[in-house]
Symmetry: C2
Subunit: 578 residues, 2 copies
């Protein structure tokens, strides 16, 4: 990863590219890299879809190495959904390939004049940028098929569907998995719309002829990885729950806790939970000849994904993840896995964030456009988005815009971004993260569920106010650091509970780069990333007033616990006070 | 004006009301009153459509007296369009009537449980609040007709159309004129949506049995009014231009200056300007038996309104005002007065802000939904809004939401509110007002056109940066004060140029209330209102970063002068530094 690949799509005469040395960006990866570049190069008050926004794609520090779990790729920009800084990350193969191709980041800048669509092909010898208008309005599955036909099956791709082309704020960027399917997404914050505004439909990566990145100290690296994997395998979450049931193991757990938002965050228990739980999902997948245990990228030892076949036993989509099962399921009152899987497939194909879409549809249901539980209506809604009808334009821009269009007060968003699958009233730690994250409402940026519910990294009562701000702060700092390594965030379960696994992670970095980092350095890295992101947001006009949940979370009691969000403003304002 | 009428539409068992003494609110009127009540009683972070927002309706300090021009009524709330404080004011008869009925303000608070629509009737004896679901989704014209049938023609009404019921952010509140037609609107900022969220469809005012409010010093008052009227009559703007051609006298003038935004703010000259100018409008109206010179309320001596008849000579709408002619005309490339008049009629009937709708349609045209200049498409767009189709929901929520839905970068908005009929690049004083006003982009809150173009109150070159911040500041302060008197803002032309007319205004207040105010007190009042409004906005999350124009005004040269907006941020930040 010796270079930055800088592509100017706004250059006169068509896009240009150049390989740049890392310069001041050296030593950064993943979220640390994207947030640094966005902070340095993007004016905070620029229009997210304008020439001065940039799309930054960066593998993590350990991506492309033989370290397990290091397949994440970070995509950063100013978000059209939140109007703040955004890092959205994805699994799949592109992270590894981009790293092996030697690029620590791709920066796409400028804005093309016309309406041509570009295809960017990157291999060990060259970078090629071509107009390919035959790709216009194709779904991600068709795009990938075309690329496979043109470039063979050793590639991986980063692409957008129609939603990104239409510059919808819920548009995702798809990354291909091991089977070369566009099932892994940088879902949140509308990164797909920014890619669409740059006129880039697909980036094809081919690392043929390049090999694994080699550590400075191969022996130490190998040893650290061994300990690291051992730690993951012995932890009950990463070694047992996730491999067995996937992320959807959470449906029964969160429903049991009373924090499973149902019917647009109206209550915390869903009567249909058992029908859509991980347990049911695994049973169904297995029966239909799918896979209940599967990785999203090579080198994964957790294997939380799977293959979901339709009734005829044909591939429909990857195993819908917990957040998707919740968003399109409980939050819309839908208790049918096939409906949810179809919605997942359509979202992946159109290039849409499943969380944002589930939230938007639930708001539309509250507005009376369909009844809660009406799966057919939900499928039609997503199809409207794919077609770009006026209703599709509303829904495809997310829950906040849907609420605005229909005069609905109950929009579960922070900084414009929809909340994920945990009610902040019943699980207050995650509420602190939603309120204060630089990313808008986001579970991954400080996954307090770990400690509030799963009792990983300690035990903080989800219903009490005590300790939640400290919990969220520590998790947000740790997450920002992990998001820079290219490691899947799920390693955090083991890292939080097992000092030796945490040390193994640090040893991996040290062995690879020849460094002597300590735990304190990791914390310092996390803090510096958060500080940088928060500064961007401040310069974009955000204040402490934006670090709040929507009004109704403070006033509307949430059953079954009948609680409101009661973390004090002044306590929330302490989050960045470290 | 001894009482506040407080109506709680959220009370259990149905709406309640009570007459309250003025208490701490005594001595305030119009915008001074609405902004004070909103500041004191509305939590800045509340949802604009929620129970804790309040709709405040207040006549001015001189409303209901025999002072000429005192017919304005202020309507305040937290705006669903800007999410900041809002005062939107209207002409027509309700201001005078409400004042004579003794109410310094109506405060509508709470939120009803069900979906019933309420009708509030206020006369000298009582306040009656009834459910009247027969009014559901009626246009303002039908509502007023029904009220006339029920309560006779001595009434005036304050009502919302379907747009307000659907809680659209471009929804206005209609006030009836002298002919009992709903042609005068508190247009800006979505006040209609707030009224809709309170379930109130119409307020019927009947001041039968009440007489003109009497001054403490009737002789002095009469004398001051005489001087005041004389000043207005002798000023070229208020005595000649406005009475002859109405507000639309500006089309030729602003077009000539090169600051007449055409085709969604693409250029400053419209080839069809002469076809839609005030001169052409007056000729057409006269030919068709309409009226070219007419007041919007009793006691008006400027008479800038008129009656616009259709081709058959039947009433179609009031004389479309300059802002409407621009918004639905030049900004959409439409050069046909009948089309513009039809759009004006539909806006008034559905209860929509013509400025916001013209801006939204122009953005839709830029998105490719219709061609610039397509009047039939524009009429259909507004009909979609009236019907509440998905496209109508997009457009009816204004230019910013329309741009968001269609991924259009060029949305001419500040704080979510569309810019009126003057390009801020070619007329920089108004650009300062757009950027810094507490109201979002708004011409009336600091009408720099007066001095930049009409050379009233001095002469500041519209194309230079010098002096614009001082100009806007002084106008914003003066305007806040004038908006509190109930006086039509057009008095400002004479007041700015003629010291004796300014003194006459002060004398009117002093004679009426037995006060000894000086010019300094008027300035102090204006400052205190702005300070209060700005504090509300700060507490709602606004910072200096929101006191900026959209990015493209800084980067895209505007023909024919080929200028950008180049007032420095640090100069804008001096606006509230007095």
């Amino acid at each position: 990863m010796e270079f930055i690949l800088r592509i100017d799509v706004g250059a006169k005469g068509g896009p240009t590219w150049r390989k740049e040395p890392l310069g001041g960006y050296a030593g950064n990866g993943g979220r640390g890299m994207t947030s640094l570049i966005v902070s340095k190069e993007v004016p905070p008050l620029c229009h997210p879809l304008g020439a001065r926004n940039k799309l930054v794609i960066a593998p993590g520090l350990l991506s492309g190495t033989s370290a397990s779990m290091s397949g994440r790729i970070s995509i950063g920009c100013k978000s059209p959904l939140t109007n703040g800084i955004k890092e959205s990350n994805s699994g799949g193969q592109p992270g590894q390939m981009l790293a092996r191709l030697g690029y620590a980041a791709i920066i796409i800048e400028g804005k093309p004049e016309g309406h041509d669509l570009y295809k960017i092909v990157i291999n060990k010898d060259e970078v090629k940028i071509d107009i390919d208008n035959s790709l216009k309005m194709l779904g991600n599955y068709d795009v990938v098929d075309k690329m496979k036909n043109e470039y063979g099956d050793k590639i991986s791709t980063i692409s957008i569907g129609p939603a990104g082309e239409m510059k919808m704020s819920a548009a995702s960027i798809a990354c291909t998995d091991m089977e070369l399917r566009p099932t892994r997404h940088a879902g949140r914050g509308g990164t797909g719309a920014v890619m669409g505004s740059k006129g880039v439909k697909v980036i094809v990566l081919d690392d043929t002829g390049k090999s694994m990145r080699t550590p400075k100290d191969p022996e130490k690296f190998k040893e650290a990885n061994k300990i690291f994997v051992k730690g993951l395998k012995k932890h009950p979450v990463t070694g047992e729950a996730l491999p067995t049931y996937g992320t959807n193991v959470l449906t029964n757990i969160i429903n049991e806790s009373g924090g499973f938002p149902t019917n647009n965050f109206k209550s915390g228990k869903f009567s249909g939970a058992s029908k859509i739980s991980g347990e049911s999902e695994v049973e169904l997948q297995t029966k239909r000849g799918g896979l209940a245990t599967h990785g999203c990228h090579r080198g994964c030892v957790i294997q939380c994904s799977g293959i979901y076949n339709d009734k005829q036993g044909n591939f429909l989509t990857k195993q819908p993840e917990y957040e998707t099962v919740w968003a399109h399921g409980a939050n819309c009152g839908i208790d049918d896995l096939d409906t949810i899987a179809m919605l997942d497939r359509l979202d992946d194909d159109f290039g849409l964030d499943t969380i944002e879409m589930g939230a938007a549809i639930a708001v539309a249901m509250e507005a009376g456009l369909a009844k809660f539980g009406d799966g057919e209506a939900a499928i039609n809604f997503i199809k409207e988005v794919g077609k770009g009808t006026p209703l599709g334009r509303i829904l495809g821009n997310g829950a906040a815009i849907t609420a605005k269009a229909y005069g609905v007060e109950r929009a579960p968003v922070v900084k414009g971004q929809a909340m994920p699958a945990y009610d902040p009233r019943a699980i207050k730690g995650i509420g602190v993260t939603y309120a204060t994250s630089t990313m808008g409402a986001d579970h991954t940026s400080g996954y307090a569920i770990a400690t509030n519910i799963l009792k990983v990294g300690g035990d903080v009562d989800p219903l009490k106010t005590e300790g939640q701000v400290d919990l969220s702060r520590n998790l947000q700092i740790a997450t920002a650091a992990i998001d820079s390594t290219g490691m899947c965030l799920f390693i955090a379960f083991a890292v939080l509970d097992q000092p030796e696994t945490f040390q193994a992670l640090i040893d991996l970095l040290n062995a690879f780069y020849g460094l002597t980092l300590t735990a304190d350095d990791v914390t310092a890295l996390g803090k510096s990333i958060l500080k940088m992101e928060r500064k961007f947001n401040t310069d974009a006009g955000f204040t402490a007033k934006h670090d709040r949940l929507p009004e109704y979370f403070y006033t509307e009691a949430f059953p079954p616990h009948n609680v409101t969000f009661d973390i004090k403003d002044e306590d929330l304002d302490q989050l960045y006070n470290w």
